[in-house]
Symmetry: C2
Subunit: 369 residues, 2 copies
């Protein structure tokens, strides 16, 4: 194999596919990026068997062939080359010569034949969203997946399509995040669970432009994202997702409208007094016209008052401050509405047309305090 | 004590003195910042017994007093307060109330009486340099102090004043860095060893402006830096510094003039192939008109050619690439001159009037390769 392409194209491609290189593996071939110039295009591929990414880069194929290069070494070399044309050339014994201006690197490689290709997916069933929308939806839900594997389903997000609505849901046992977006067209109903890791990596790769489209297609076991010159294929998580509809309710006894930034800053300040792992709740005392937030730990105590517009009953309720912070951080609205039933029922933060719903369980502060 | 000052003044002051708060200590009082409003000014002080920093901040003293607040908690609280007036008020039992707008923090404090004040220094003997110069001189020498304590003297830098020249020297057994700057006036000769940590912290605190002055004064055991509203007092390292003059020589058999950026980038690329702790040298082959750099490790090999202007003999010599990189990174000249004697003698990188001299010992590459 011998190919020539610009350093910048190479850097971009390598950085995209590197997201699918596992940080730890017992199979050295999985630590590689496959450079495939066996056909008329140059393709880079990485695949950790759960998540696979393939991207095309511009360049000249002088001699067809494929080679698998250690991702870490390859990407470090490529990044530090002068900003010029790069030649990648293999020799008979899988040695690979990377040349750029007067710099010559010679590294050991592995046969491309050993590499496990991405599964071939028939793309007949797909929906289209903009890069911007997909990136936003992931950002606004990904924080509430569970970060350990005790319940596999909680490490993923539900992608549910019904007519022209895509609903994305994540939950971790203490809170639920729901985002709904309107699609341009209507589609047949579909319900899949996408691994959180896939969504995190996708959101790093896509540019986030409102004009650029991502095609999302589905098979029985896989979800495929196609955008620009890149294809991302991920396994789905098997099983039936949690029935969340029965946990949602639109009844409330207390409704609070509050400036989001003020509330967020106040809770953020309060958490200074809590050491990591310390389960101190923030206590919220809702009264007519104002809300008092209080926290107390070994380090000291803090309280602060914020103006609110209140409907309904007064309420004293406690929360894990982190859960409130996580939700408030991703909401773009200047003012938010909080709905409460009582001190033991979940709090809902949602907008009028329910494009987002954040459900957060309270904590029993009498027991903790 | 009760004082009122702006959040921004407080943040600035706390961030300056925090540099002298030890990260680990068995004495809780050393983890504190002393807020001293016992006289007509508000002073913040931290002191780890080696290095002490004191800074004045603007504000109103409503009631005189002093109090010692845990540096970490105090600085975190101050940083997260709203951008407004902050009131710090102590109560009888050393509880301290920090109020800003509607936020109220109540934290435990320690009596200011237990705090060890900075030594009082008579300032009669001092030199003046600009913040910019001091910052540059530190940056250009600090990298070659030794990072372990086996030889205490190597963890500091020599500050030597003779007439109107300040010479700053650091060395670690493999290399020596020397910077000379001209002072505006002549001073009596002086020779002290300043702890590297002091210089690192100073360089973070000073602004780096060419118009702002730093007064540096000396006592038998201390060096004092005064600038803006801040005083930094540091213990000196005792002993007589290494005699470096006998290690310097202006003879050479080979002189190379080379583009600094090209050389630096090339060595930087070459180090990709070396894992941390791996002692592979970079081999430099100096010939007429060009210099070839070669490196070889388990990962692979790299070679690259750079144009040079050469005087004298051809030479094949090996170096620890890190030492070359460290020196080249801090030199601001576009072209540098390298002077060699033979493959076993040190290489000198210096400018014509010797405002900087970097001496680097070669490695015996035959043995290593």
């Amino acid at each position: 194999m011998k190919i020539i392409c610009s350093k910048s194209n190479l850097v971009k491609g390598v950085s995209i596919v590197s997201k699918a290189v596992p940080s730890k593996t017992t199979m050295p071939i999985l630590e590689c990026i496959l450079v495939d110039a066996s056909m008329d295009v140059i393709k880079l591929t990485a695949n950790d068997m759960e998540l696979g990414i393939e991207t095309r880069i511009d360049g000249d194929i002088v001699e067809r062939g494929i080679i698998a290069l250690n991702a870490k070494i390859f990407s470090e070399i490529v990044r530090k080359l002068p900003d010029s044309e790069v030649t990648i050339e293999t020799t008979a014994d899988n040695q690979t010569l990377i040349t750029c201006e007067k710099a010559k690197f010679n590294i050991a490689a592995q046969s491309g034949e050993d590499f496990s290709y991405l599964p071939i997916i028939e793309k007949d069933d797909y929906i289209t969203v903009s890069e911007f929308t997909l990136k936003e939806v992931i950002r606004q839900t990904i924080f509430s997946i569970a970060d350990n594997d005790t319940n596999k389903m909680m490490t993923g997000e539900l992608f549910e399509i019904e007519d022209n609505v895509l609903k994305v849901v994540s939950l971790d046992g203490h809170r639920i995040s729901i985002r709904k977006i309107e699609l341009k067209e209507s589609y047949a109903p579909k319900k899949v669970i996408v691994p959180g890791k896939t969504l995190q990596e996708i959101s790093k790769i896509i540019g986030g432009e409102a004009e650029a489209d991502v095609d999302i297609s589905f098979t029985k076991n896989h979800i495929v994202f196609e955008f620009d010159r890149t294809v991302v294929v991920s396994r789905l998580i098997e099983g039936e997702y949690f029935k969340i509809d029965q946990m949602l309710s639109s009844d409330y006894e207390t409704k609070v409208r509050i400036n989001k930034r003020e509330l967020l800053n106040c809770i953020d300040r309060a958490t200074l007094l809590i050491k990591e792992g310390d389960k101190k709740p923030i206590i919220i005392d809702i009264r007519e016209g104002s809300m008092e937030l209080k926290i107390k730990s070994q380090i000291g105590s803090m309280d602060e008052e914020i103006f609110i517009v209140k409907e309904g009953k007064d309420l004293l309720i406690g929360f894990n401050p982190k859960f409130l912070i996580d939700a408030l951080r991703v909401i773009d609205d200047e003012e938010v509405d909080l709905y409460f039933m009582n001190a033991k029922a979940p709090c809902f933060i949602k907008d009028e047309n329910q494009s987002y719903i954040y459900l957060i369980l309270p904590v029993n502060f009498n027991a903790v305090a």
